[in-house]
């Protein structure tokens, strides 16, 4: 069992518990123990893109420092990687490191953290650099490998028509993305390894409407309609996602999307880790389908396919 630091973030502890519950169990099955950071704070979701906005990079940097501390405290040995499930956390943590490539900014941040100690405490030591943020999808491709995934499959998802949906933040910009920004294949490869039938989704890298879901539901409703109607026309029975915000918009905003265009059929939205837990034959408690978090219940489909 390899022990790797794990940063949960707020979403997978609340609205996306089904993501982390299934993901942690799947990782364990594949020989990876996700060790939660003993101390963590908000990732700082959506890094500031302004060159002069140093304050807004502090949140992710504090989390990277906590990974550093785990090594110093002997919780992990020489392990500078940190795994996340949430695309937004991954994006923000990775961006922080890119931002700190500028030595002057690194020094400014560490000077601030040093001064902060005198007044309010905070982190013991500044950031030394070199902590690498990994999205769990990357871990599956690069550390575990698709062959190993296939080996663990007890119940192949035969005949389940699945359309992948990536969203933006795990793919773009290129220097942060884990795969091709416009033609990614990780989700497809994983779904094939599970024995599912992959359905082409032309909108799989299009924006879900993101944070506009708070105050511009009209924008999100239109995007949700567009992002679902094409895979449905191609025969998809379920949409598979990797980001808690995309999932919320694709799943819960179907209500608003249907008000806009009544021809939209209901379709369940699930995390890839949930399908992995099902295919691996893990106990139902690790599937995360009974937590009341899905707007469109995936259970009728799973029952129809003899998977539930």
């Amino acid at each position: 069992m390899v022990k790797i630091p794990y940063y949960p973030g707020c979403a997978v502890q609340t609205t996306a518990r089904n993501y982390s519950i299934s993901g942690i169990a799947v990782a364990k099955k594949l020989g990876i123990e996700l060790v939660e950071l003993p101390k963590w704070n908000c990732c700082g979701v959506f890094p500031s893109l302004a060159t002069d906005d140093l304050m807004r990079h502090l949140a992710p940097i504090r989390n990277l420092i906590h990974v550093q501390e785990m090594n110093e405290n002997g919780i992990v040995q020489n392990e500078n990687r940190v795994i996340t499930f949430c695309s937004m956390c991954y994006h923000t943590l990775k961006e922080a490191n890119l931002f700190l490539k500028d030595a002057e900014k690194m020094e400014k941040i560490n000077t601030f953290l040093e001064r902060e100690k005198e007044f309010v405490g905070g982190v013991k030591e500044g950031y030394k650099g070199g902590v690498e943020a990994l999205d769990f999808l990357e871990v599956l491709r690069d550390i575990v490998g698709y062959d190993r995934i296939t080996k663990e499959v007890k119940k192949p998802l035969k005949g389940l028509k699945v359309a992948p949906y990536y969203g933006c933040l795990v793919l773009r910009p290129r220097e942060i993305g884990i795969d091709d920004p416009e033609n990614p294949t990780i989700l497809e490869d994983i779904l094939e390894a599970l024995g599912a039938e992959v359905i082409d989704n032309p909108n799989r890298t299009q924006c879900c409407g993101s944070y506009h879901t708070v105050d511009r539901k009209d924008i999100v409703a239109k995007l949700t309609y567009d992002n679902l109607v094409y895979p449905i026309r191609n025969g998809a029975e379920v949409i598979v996602t990797c980001c808690p915000l995309c999932t919320f918009n694709l799943d819960h905003r179907q209500k608003e999307a249907r008000k806009l265009r009544r021809d939209l059929q209901e379709i369940p939205v699930m995390y890839y880790t949930q399908l992995m837990a099902i295919a691996f034959g893990l106990d139902k408690q690790f599937w995360g389908v009974d937590l009341g978090l899905h707007y469109v219940d995936p259970k009728p489909l799973l029952k129809a396919k003899n998977l539930y």
């Binding site: 707020c10 993101s210 708070v214 924008i219 919320f248």
Partner: protein, 124 residues
């Protein structure tokens, strides 16, 4: 510092290298809700008419998906330019959204990442 210089310095992007091909506007998933297209915004920055942009809703509608940046043949990070415009507006006057106007039923179901990222982009 004049506004064009401000956009350049906050975004770190070279707006003059844009040759107005329009690929950013064609790639933008939320163009339908914008009054000025991303291409028009870049042109207005080039000619120094920032005030006109600041009256538009374009940079508020941008959802930071980086689709324009991924396709730009001049490799301009237009998303960063939109961020610079948001910042100029936020630093000049009030927040874009009022948090107390979000309905309670919505607060119960919205993922925390939706709220935090929204506040990060629309409040100073």
């Amino acid at each position: 510092m004049d506004l064009v210089e401000k956009v350049k310095s906050i975004s770190g992007e070279d707006v003059l290298s844009c040759y107005q091909c329009g690929l950013c506007s064609g790639s933008c998933p939320v163009r339908f809700a914008m009054d000025l297209s991303p291409t028009q915004v870049i042109r207005l920055v080039q000619v120094g008419n920032i005030e006109k942009i600041l009256e538009s809703n374009t940079f508020w509608i941008c959802s930071t998906c980086f689709a324009c940046h991924a396709r730009c043949p001049r490799e301009i990070n237009i998303t960063r330019i939109m961020e610079a415009l948001r910042q100029i507006r936020l630093r000049r006057d009030q927040d874009k959204i009022s948090v107390n106007k979000i309905p309670k039923e919505e607060l119960k179901i919205l993922p925390p990442i939706a709220l935090v990222s929204n506040f990060r982009k629309t409040t100073a």
